[in-house]
Symmetry: C2
Subunit: 475 residues, 2 copies
């Protein structure tokens, strides 16, 4: 181990002064997360321009025993991509300069991209060839594809297309010792030994730096149909989901549920949003079908299923979007949830998933558990119901929050109570956001000793010096 200045000099020598940021001012956008909740010092920010340079940076860090923090678009919700406050300041390796779309192979339904490509750029490059890269999420205008891989990003397309993991064919990774693994295969089938790419997907930068990837593409849907429904209950929503799956198969591309509390918050706090249905209903579902072909057939299919659901008494009311503008308006209500909640108060957002069949019971039991800790506290519910992923949000007005004697203790008690209910139903405390720094305590609490030991064995095998993104993911 040597001191920081020697390493800084060596990095500057290797990459050039322009590619190494080390003043406090230059590093500001890299050392703090976008919500301002996590911040920590770094030795410097390295901006390599190609895989070879990433390898050189990592080799130098390895030789100097310096921690390495891989960073993409820095859009993490759990503090996974900025330095910890304590410990030796890491070298942040930000991939922003590696943003080439290397190749789109339309006939193979694949594309090879560098890790620094912004997700929206990747989507556009695919669409230009009549293909879909199906990962879609709020941060897509700024998150990098490498970050979505490191966190196995989810989003709104998971029901039909799976998570990021399901859309990766191959990876190029710089390993913790600086060696380069060229796993950039574009194959659909390849049974030649352990499938190493899955070790890095969702590993949150603790196993190496993803520098490039081969992504799986899909036919670009040409037809869409969207409806807003008011089911009688979460169980009725599930029954309707079953009708859709039977009748539409993989045409079903979104099945999102919110409760009336959540809809009320959006209506009250986000200007311009229109309540999709007249009257008050306890539960709301946005359903989307997409397909090849044209809209008309899909609209008709959607209409038929809604009639079926109504005839079974599952539905209070429903409205179908008649055109693209109406579809967008319905989605806008769904997408206004975060903005509404931020304005309305303090939500203790959880990122739970349970088996789809257990969602109604989870909502019931978690609500009861929270009410025991905070009688009368409203809960907002936003669920990717088709995936069993429920953002269950006990919600305080600003006044109620500020009046709490111990806010941290209340937040921790509520989170634990909700996660306990999920765990008892075979669920998880982090469906799509990852672990980062914010869920380390949950990892220690909910994971079995056997599973934690397995994870530590994997980490030890690849990063014995424990230099990569220390203090994240593994408690």
């Amino acid at each position: 181990m040597t001191n920081g200045n020697t390493l800084l000099d060596a990095l500057t020598q290797a990459l050039g002064a322009d590619a190494i940021l080390h003043s406090e001012a230059d590093m500001a956008g890299y050392t703090e997360d976008w919500r301002g909740r996590y911040k920590g010092p770094a030795l410097c920010v390295a901006l390599p321009g190609n895989t070879q340079q990433v390898s050189e940076v990592v080799r130098l860090c390895h030789a100097h025993g310096a921690p390495v923090l891989p960073q993409g678009g820095n859009t993490s919700l759990c503090g996974g991509a900025v330095p910890a406050a304590g410990g030796r300041p890491p070298v942040i390796v930000n991939l922003a300069r590696m943003r080439r779309v290397r190749r789109v192979d339309a006939a193979n339904n694949s594309m090879e991209v560098e890790a620094g490509c912004v997700l929206a750029t990747v989507q556009e490059a695919a669409a230009a060839q009549g293909r879909l890269y199906p990962i879609s999420l709020g941060a897509e205008g700024s998150c990098q594809i490498g970050g979505t891989i490191a966190t196995n990003a989810g989003g709104t397309g998971v029901l039909r297309y799976g998570n990021t993991r399901d859309n990766i064919l191959g990876l190029e990774v710089v390993l913790p010792d600086g060696s380069i693994w060229d796993g950039l295969t574009a194959l659909r089938k390849n049974n030649t030994g352990y499938d190493l790419k899955h070790l890095f997907i969702g590993a949150e930068g603790t196993m190496g730096i993803v520098t490039a990837a081969v992504l799986k593409l899909h036919p670009l849907p040409s037809a869409h149909a969207v409806a807003w429904l008011a089911p009688d209950s979460p169980q009725a929503a599930l029954d309707i989901l079953g009708l859709f799956q039977r009748a539409c198969g993989s045409r079903l591309s979104a099945f999102e549920m919110i409760d009336s509390n959540q809809l009320d918050v959006v209506m009250a706090h986000v200007p311009g949003r229109k309540n999709p249905l007249p009257g008050a209903h306890p539960w709301h579902v946005l359903v989307e079908l997409s397909d090849t072909g044209d809209d008309a057939g899909l609209q008709e299919l959607l209409q038929q299923i809604l009639e079926q659901a109504a005839s079974q008494g599952l539905l209070h009311d429903a409205v179908l979007a008649a055109n693209g503008a109406q579809r967008a308006a319905l989605w806008e209500v769904r997408h206004s949830v975060s903005e509404g909640n931020k304005k309305a108060g303090v939500g203790l957002t959880t990122d739970t998933a349970v088996p789809v069949s257990a969602v109604p019971r989870f909502i019931d039991e978690a609500t009861r558990a929270v009410r025991e800790l905070a009688p009368g506290l409203p809960v907002l519910i936003v669920a990717h119901l088709g995936d069993g992923n429920v953002h269950f949000i006990p919600f305080f007005t600003f006044d109620a929050w500020n009046a709490l004697p111990d806010r941290d203790a209340m937040a921790a008690a509520i989170r634990r109570a909700v996660n306990d209910v999920a765990a008892a139903l075979g669920g998880t405390f982090s469906a799509e956001h990852g672990v980062g720094r914010s869920s380390l305590a949950e990892m220690a609490h909910y994971k079995s000793p056997v599973e934690l030991a397995m994870m530590r064995a994997v980490k030890q095998a690849f990063d014995p010096a424990q230099l990569f993104n220390p203090g994240r993911l593994l408690p």
Copy 2:
């Protein structure tokens, strides 16, 4: 390390005498593969009845330093599931007695099964609930689900539903030290640390014993449409594939290509098979669409695409199956390939995959490479074209084969030449069959030192004593 008898006594004590086979006669079906190509001695065959017993067997083997060979239905094509001829005889752990379907959760589209369940049983249990478990392959009547997981089995449903890997939600595994990992989650989203299940899928029993799994189910298609086409060339077949993907999206469930040599062998050697099209054509494709809804709409869609293909000059001729019996007859031609080839001569079957876009070039170049080694030798081609998976089969009559001065050398030279062409196109030497014993030399030859080192590090982390399925997968 102790001698075999002590271990045998301990195993008998733990599981009961009925569950431990050790006479040569009793072990015969376990120590040799079904084609009679690989055979080796075993200390005994253990038949545990539950996960706890598997754990006890493994703990005892671990304590005695005895190799462990996990075994399912023993249907491997590459010698992966029977003992090696040399080395210390292993304890074969066969899961046949663990064959409970523990639970079908239709609303979650999942089912939990024990590893010894036969694949066909799993398919039936899913279908009874209106769901599809989409892995389908020739050995489905005898292979065990645990074996399909250990080998990441492919088959005919991969184009639409992916490989086995893509249809596993959770696993239960007995690790090499005997500890039990309960990873039996039924979640669609779970970002809490490394995704450990992928370490065991496709690991060919070298990392532990899969004892149970949660499988992903799909809506059971109710509509089918099948056609047999005669495209002009492999490139024309690819162009037609593109038309189908654009127009049908995920309704496309099979796109299988064979060449005229292969069709001729089936017609000449398998009684009762009917040539689907009049006249002679160089290339043949079987295409299947499946969907919810009824057959009529799907037939019409298929008809439309064929007309489009014909109008673009891609197609010599085509026939649509009018009903279920005709569909079955077309599939029967495709499924008679192995039987025909076995009767007709000696095929040096390869299991290549290349990017889908590279298939025409692969066929051209591999044919040229083989002809240089064996002028005039016919090649049979059977391809899962939609997956880029080509079984490229240089084919000898029995007389020609027997006349060769050095058969092993010829076989090795031809395989290497074909695999070299695949490798140069970014392809693989084993798309779906795995490595087992038969492809160890290819692993050593084609995998990079970095990748082999990564695989060895993973193996070392979980099985430091190198007891699990030694001499398989890793050279």
